[in-house]
């Protein structure tokens, strides 16, 4: 069983980290970090399984607190009072089937159309405000056969590629280099900055001479260059700070769905417990997986188009059950990590769901959604109109507020989540 060297470490790590930063040349970028951090940090992990969840096995028939557990929720029964199920919610004006994977955390309307532009994702919205406090502002992860598609998008709607390898993330977070390689790394970061400085100057000169449309393009370039410079500078400072020590081996990347997913969830718990980040997104891209899942023999995407066939529905249920069992394991790990007087689960909002309400016909309405932990009064099924869905971005506003971010709006939200109360 992997465990963190000191379980009450987070607080101390933070204090130590804060002390170290104060001693460094004072960076504008880092200043907000030291404001009002009196209690242990709050966090979000958002997980999207990309091919939908069979509704009859997920949504309870009854609403409110006294609902009967459905087959999938049965796997989470130990945590019944620590999560809320939402039905009848979706992102307004999000259609376009699989292309809605890109909008799970952004809620940008009409993905898949020619003129579509994405907007900032929940995790990045939060990272812009609290990301400065941790070594990694936000972690974007993906469990996939190939590719590094992610749930995370910048404010200009550009996808941030996700990390596929738990081993590499682990190394970046926890494996310290020796003094020489740290120096070398810092040296490279500095060279990187001077390169960026020269090209930024060139872009600035060009911008002055261009027409408005072209200027906007160059402006985007210029902003990105400055942003990388800023990040390299912060990276330089972090490079010199000791990495937290965890006494678990480097995780294996794995080949099959369940081992990949398990490794990512373990990594998430470690990253939170060491306060290496407070924001994680995980896209579970099922396409192509089928091996080593009990009771599953058919490729996942294929299964999601079950076309009503009993055999496929059976396999699909097994595929989805296996994922819920992994989720239960994540809950358990977060629950058993103590932090001050609370558990990590108390301090971590776990958002789980899918961009598809129905994988069989690519419907994006009635998204299967669930929120656990993080300091909300849970234990109920909040049911909304299946015909005229309730805006899901409202939940995101509630989540951001619970994180301590003062915002009234996220994407197409109309308020905060109706019926969801905080402790």
């Amino acid at each position: 069983m992997a465990h963190v060297a000191a379980s009450a470490l987070t607080r101390r790590t933070f204090l130590r980290a804060a002390g170290a930063s104060l001693a460094l040349p004072f960076l504008d970028a880092m200043r907000p970090a030291f404001a009002a951090e009196l209690e242990s940090p709050r966090r979000i992990i958002a997980i999207c399984t990309n091919l939908g969840v069979l509704e009859k096995n997920f949504f309870p028939a009854e609403t409110g607190r006294d609902y009967a557990l459905t087959p999938y929720l049965e796997t989470l029964k130990d945590f019944r009072n620590q999560f809320t199920v939402f039905s009848g919610t979706s992102h307004p004006d999000v259609t376009g089937g699989h292309s809605a994977e890109a909008t799970f955390l952004t809620a940008a309307p009409q993905p898949g159309t020619a003129s579509f532009r994405n907007s900032i994702s929940l995790d990045q919205f939060a990272a812009e405000r609290i990301g400065i406090n941790t070594r990694v502002p936000a972690l974007s992860l993906v469990v996939s056969k190939s590719g590094n598609q992610s749930l995370s998008f910048t404010s200009s709607g550009v996808m941030l590629p996700a990390e596929r390898s738990p081993a590499q993330v682990f190394k970046a977070l926890f494996v310290a280099g020796d003094a020489v390689s740290v120096e070398k790394q810092v040296e490279q970061l500095r060279t990187g900055r001077s390169i960026l400085d020269s090209v930024a100057a060139r872009a600035a000169a060009l911008q002055k001479q261009l027409g408005s449309g072209d200027r906007e393009r160059l402006d985007q370039y210029f902003t990105s260059v400055r942003e990388v410079e800023r990040r390299l500078l912060i990276a330089e400072e972090w490079e010199r700070k000791p990495k937290p020590k965890v006494d678990v081996p480097v995780p294996k990347d794995g080949e099959y769905l369940l081992e990949k997913l398990g490794a990512m969830y373990d990594l998430a718990q470690l990253a939170f417990a060491t306060d290496s980040t407070r924001l994680i997104s995980i896209l579970v891209k099922l396409d192509g997986f089928s091996e080593h899942i009990p009771g599953v023999g058919t490729e996942s995407h294929n299964l999601s188009h079950h076309v009503g066939r009993e055999d496929k529905l059976r396999e699909l249920k097994n595929l989805e059950l296996a994922q819920f069992q992994q989720l239960a394991a994540l809950f358990k790990r977060l629950q058993s990590s103590k932090e001050g007087g609370a558990t990590l689960l108390d301090r971590t909002q776990v958002l789980y769901g899918s961009n598809l309400g129905n994988g069989n016909n690519h419907d994006t309405k009635n998204m299967p959604m669930l929120l656990a932990g993080g300091g909300f009064k849970h234990g109920q099924h909040l049911a909304f109109d299946k015909q005229k869905n309730y805006p899901l971005p409202n939940l995101y506003v509630s989540m951001l507020q619970r994180l301590g971010i003062e915002t009234e709006k996220f994407a197409s939200s109309t308020g905060t989540m109706k019926g969801l109360e905080v402790f």
Binding site: T95, L196, L218
Partner: protein, 1063 residues
């Protein structure tokens, strides 16, 4: 009115009319004052405050304030006669024309305002495909792979070339730094001398993978056509009569003339197939691979002509092995009576002789590297045939060979669990493999020359480090121990290392060459070994530099090691102490603690040599950067523009970096500069206002269009002479560029986006329903569509060939899929279209039919959408909100047609779907992999059903499986309901099947040409086609009429168009 007339031509013949004019609800209040008389008279009845059909209100519509998009939709409705509706009073033609002219003029003005001074197109960054190709061409690294490092690109108007979709984020920028670094490092070789080209050749049977395949029972050693002697059991003493037992693998360690493979996949443990694994490339480079192979039919002990027939497995006969003198079990030919299969057949299955007949078979071999195909090769029956190809190999890489036409060529599966000596079936023999290389055309390689010219890398003096001791040529210099850094401390005149660690000191070496370091050291002894030290230079050990310091204070010993310095400048040397030891239990305090003492360090520099004097010629960083920048920026570069990049290189040199490292930092900055990354800056900063592109910008627009990359020297020379923009020159250049192999990139990329071929791997066909789908078919599908487009270009065939053709361009695998006999081999060739065939054009090519289906079922909606959008150019609009999608159902309860009918019932759906769905219905005759079907396939084997008094089997189809092995390779699949491919277009024209649809699509070739011109123009210029651009598109349609809109003519006219040549 001349210009106006051009807008008045029908823009889209099948224009989709569903528009929710919702945005109109917000219109300036004063608009009412401008209520246009035409709208008042002809539109207000249905589109006023009370009724506002489709969400449109014209009583508040102001031409001046409405969005151009909305006005264009009005224009198209009125112009095509869709509005006012047929039953309403129609405006006089002249009045209609006048209103349309006014509307058109308003739109053009508005669009010009929207575009602003930047014009129709914007400067844009390269997409990642272009970025990779450009780096390949710039650095002469034809196989560079950096695309996957970069985030995926966005898309607009269907293409990843459009400025608005090509954003830059900090992630993109970070990845550019990384990708540039990786590419530049690959361009520089780390090998000092020109590598020697050698030829290696060995029998196939000697490869480890071939021997392993024998253990998997997938392979037989052959001499001539007979089983070669020497097959034994791997497990000593194990009776080989148990040959069929999968735990007891056979073994072969002798020599044989050939290695005959009997299955497409060699077991789960060897998915890489047969490899050339005894040749180990050590130098990255091009290699020429040759091999010889032939097809056969294996009959238990020997090979016969490769004819199709019964694939059989016999129960194990036991007797073919006897012990030899050494006690090994040896194979012997079976006695003839045992070869009579009577009564001993386990399983059998007839090959697909119904389709192929029993003539001789040519099997197909695929060579691949790391899963990427290198080529497909024919292996004729019993005729050893030599094949050859070129491949770039990195150290340790191996080429793999698979037979695509043997059972089990799909997903990795097992080999035969029964012995090969109990098996009759098809096979392919490899005789030998040959590798010649590395093929060196020049040295240093072109990639390094592109960066450093003739300058030998790593030989240039670097700035000395201030304060460090200098080691002069030929002299020996004593280093100050007190100045050493890192581990240890001074103890008197000596340096003590009492813990493991490295102590280092930096010295300035005056010249390049071989140096010697001498370290006088002793130890205080403890434990059972002497103190150990290693002499270091930089991060590396010097050669032969690990020493045991078996000397005490009384008599220090001197240890020497040599190291190379590539260029004059600072070098860090050091001593590493590796085996610290302390024994607290030791009673003698003098034997308790092992420590290392350094008494003296000296470094001796090489003697001056004439060669070093030549190499010390000062390098010219600015000159090199200027030359590189000029190519990278695709235009002449001023010396002062290079200054910032030179400053980076110089700063690195000052810091003590090597010449190579410093220059790479400078090159990296160039590769991250906007001038490199952005297309459209080549003729200087574009002047506001729609002006013609300068010749350099034109050269880049042309090369990024047809080569997905930077212009070559010819284009840049023409640009320098300002002659590129001359029409005749431009025509000649387009012809030259299309003939160049780089135009393959255009074909691949354009079709990937236009026809959606990039979606080839989005879904995998359900192996239970389509077990015949295999990697060769997948490859052939893409190859067909690409080669077909190449043919349209080369032969300048007209747009009608998009939907029909007289000849097919297919190979054996596609012929099988299309049901066409007598096509043998892997190469695509022209085959006359058989009478009555449903094939022809992109419309019915397997690749298109595959990308428009999911792996299980087809949807007429998606295929219909593909036809209307990709072939007819009618853009889709998103469905109205809160409309659930159709739920696919293959339980047989509801047919797809019944579900589609629902679209007709709902008016909101019908307005689009009435046009979208029908072409898709015609394509229902094709399954998800593009095969013809009369009935839908169902999972499972056919069941007995009662028909009247009889018990009959359900309809079924016999399918060759790509994933199962040997005798299990043909499966019977259930069939369901019959396909009905008839339909009716929205204008009432009926068709019975796909050929009927084809005829209807061919009625309007202008529409097909208009769409191709639009798609090419978007792709070529990176901007959408606006209303104002319609005349230019119509001009292309008109000018290509003479060739019936030949594909090459359209490309030529796109380039000749003012849209292409202006900003």
């Amino acid at each position: 009115m001349l210009v106006m007339d051009q807008w008045l031509r029908p823009a889209r013949t099948l224009s989709i009319s569903l528009v929710l004019f919702t945005e109109l609800s917000v219109v300036a209040a004063e608009a009412a004052k401008e209520f246009h008389p035409f709208l008042q008279k002809h539109c207000a009845e249905c589109h006023d405050e009370d009724v506002h059909k489709g969400g449109l209100r014209v009583d508040q519509l102001s031409l001046q304030h409405a969005s151009p998009d909305l006005l264009v939709r009005l224009f198209d409705r009125i112009q095509t006669g869709e509005m006012p509706p047929k039953k309403a009073d129609q405006p006089e033609p002249a009045i209609r024309q006048a209103f349309l002219a006014e509307l058109g003029k308003t739109v053009v003005t508005k669009e010009a305002e929207v575009a602003g001074p930047s014009g129709r197109t914007l400067v844009r960054r390269m997409n990642r495909v272009e970025y990779e190709h450009t780096l390949r061409d710039l650095l002469a690294l034809p196989l560079l792979r950096v695309k996957e490092l970069l985030p995926e690109d966005g898309q607009q108007f269907g293409f990843d070339k459009v400025a608005g979709a090509l954003d830059i984020s900090h992630v993109q920028m970070t990845k550019y730094l990384q990708a540039a670094d990786e590419a530049l490092r690959q361009a520089v070789v780390n090998v000092a001398t020109r590598p020697e080209t050698k030829t290696w050749r060995e029998p196939a049977m000697r490869q480890d993978s071939a021997r392993a395949a024998i253990a998997q029972k997938c392979c037989v050693p052959l001499n001539g056509r007979e089983l070669a002697p020497g097959l034994t059991s791997l497990v000593a003493g194990n009776p080989v009569e148990d040959y069929g037992n999968s735990y007891r693998a056979p073994s072969f360690s002798g020599d044989a003339e050939s290695c005959a493979v009997l299955t497409g996949v060699i077991g789960a443990h060897q998915p890489e197939g047969i490899q050339i694994d005894r040749f180990h490339p050590t130098v990255p480079g091009w290699y020429r691979v040759r091999f010889s192979a032939w097809s056969l039919r294996w009959e238990r002990t020997h090979a016969v002509a490769a004819v199709r027939g019964m694939v059989r497995s016999y129960t194990s006969l036991g007797l073919p092995f006897i012990k030899d003198a050494k006690g090994h079990w040896q194979a012997t030919p079976l006695p003839p009576e045992k070869l009579t299969p009577k009564g001993t057949i386990n399983y059998e299955c007839m090959e697909n002789v119904e389709f192929y007949g029993t003539g001789e078979v040519t099997h197909i071999i695929r060579a691949s590297l790391k899963g990427e195909p290198l080529g497909y090769f024919d292996a004729p029956s019993l005729k050893p045939t030599l094949h050859e190809f070129k491949v770039w190999l990195n150290p340790g890489e191996r080429v793999s060979f698979h037979v695509m036409t043997l059972p089990g060529s799909g997903a990795p599966g097992g080999g035969f669990s029964d012995g090969i000596l109990d098996y009759d079936g098809p096979g392919v023999a490899y005789d030998w493999f040959e590798v010649e290389g590395p093929l060196v055309e020049q040295w240093p390689p072109e990639s390094q020359r592109r960066l450093f010219g003739e300058t030998p890398v790593g030989k240039y003096p670097r700035s000395p480090l201030a304060g460090a001791p200098t080691i002069i040529e030929g002299a020996t210099t004593k280093l100050p121990l007190a100045d050493c850094k890192g581990a240890g401390q001074m103890l008197g005149a000596e340096r003590l290392l009492n813990l493991n660690g490295t102590t280092t000191i930096t010295v300035n070496c005056a010249v390049a060459g071989e140096y010697e370091m001498a370290v006088a050291a002793f130890e205080t002894h403890a434990g059972d070994e002497a103190a150990k030290m290693t002499l270091m230079v930089g991060d590396h050990e010097m050669s032969h530099a690990r020493f045991s310091v078996d000397a005490l204070r009384a008599g220090p010993k001197t240890f020497r090691a040599k190291f190379r310095v590539d260029s004059a400048g600072p070098v860090t040397v050091g001593v590493q102490y590796v085996n610290d030891f302390f024994d607290e239990k030791q009673t003698d305090p003098n034997l308790r603690d092992r420590n290392l003492f350094l008494a003296n360090i000296e470094v001796t520099a090489p003697k001056p040599s004439p060669a070093a004097a030549v190499a010390a010629k000062p390098a010219d960083p600015r000159g090199l950067l200027l030359a590189f920048g000029t190519r990278a920026f695709r235009r002449p570069v001023m010396a002062e523009e290079i200054a910032p990049y030179a400053a980076i290189a110089e700063a690195e040199l000052k810091r003590g970096a090597s010449f190579e490292e410093a220059m790479l930092a400078g090159y990296k900055a160039i590769l991250c500069a906007p001038d490199f990354l952005f297309v459209g800056l080549e003729s200087g900063v574009p002047k506001p206002g729609a002006v013609r592109l300068g010749d350099y910008a034109l050269a880049s627009r042309l090369s990024f269009f047809l080569w997905d990359s930077m212009p070559d020297e010819t284009l840049l020379e023409l640009a320098a002479k300002n002659t590129l923009s001359q029409p005749a020159t431009l025509r000649a250049q387009v012809a030259r560029m299309l003939a160049d192999t780089r135009s393959e990139r255009f074909i691949e990329h354009f079709l990937d986006e236009w026809l959606d071929l990039k979606k080839m791997d989005f879904t995998t066909p359900d192996p239970n329903l389509y077990p015949e789908f295999d990697p060769w078919l997948r490859h052939s599908m893409l190859a067909e569509s690409r080669a077909y487009f190449r043919k349209l270009l080369t032969q300048n065939l007209g747009v009608r060939e998009l939907v029909t053709s007289e000849k097919l361009l297919i190979n054996q695998r596609l012929a099988e899929l299309y049901g066409i006999r007598d096509v043998t081999g892997a190469t695509l060739r022209e085959v006359p279209l058989p009478a009555g065939s449903p094939r022809g054009g992109f419309l019915t090519q397997a690749a298109v039919l595959k990308v428009t289906a999911n792996g299980t079922a087809t949807s007429p909606v998606l295929r219909g959408l593909w036809v209307t959008e990709r072939l007819l150019g009618i853009p889709r609009r998103p469905p109205p909100p809160n409309i659930p999608a159709i739920e696919p159902d293959a339980t047989g309860a509801v047919t797809i047609r019944q579900m589609i009918e629902k679209h007709r019932a709902d008016a909101a759906c019908a307005s689009c779907h009435a046009k979208m769905d029908p072409p898709g219905m015609a394509l229902e005759s094709f399954d998800v992999i593009g095969g013809w079907r009369d009935r839908y396939r169902l999972a499972g084997s056919p069941q007995k059903i009662r028909r009247g008094n009889e018990s009959v089997e359900e309809p079924s189809v016999l399918v060759v499986s790509a994933t199962t092995v040997g005798y299990r390779s043909r499966l019977k699949l259930r069939l369901g309901s019959e396909v009905d491919a008839s339909g009716e277009l929205s204008d009432g024209q009926k068709f019975a099947d796909v050929n009927g649809l084809r005829a209807l699509l061919l009625q309007d070739e202008d529409a097909l040409a208009r769409n191709v011109a639009r798609q090419l123009m978007i792709y070529a210029t990176g901007a959408g086609i606006r209303f104002s651009d319609r005349p230019a598109i119509e001009a292309i349609v008109a000018r290509t009429k003479a060739t019936r809109h030949g594909m090459r003519s359209i490309v030529q006219e796109v380039v000749a168009s003012e849209l292409f040549q202006t900003k």
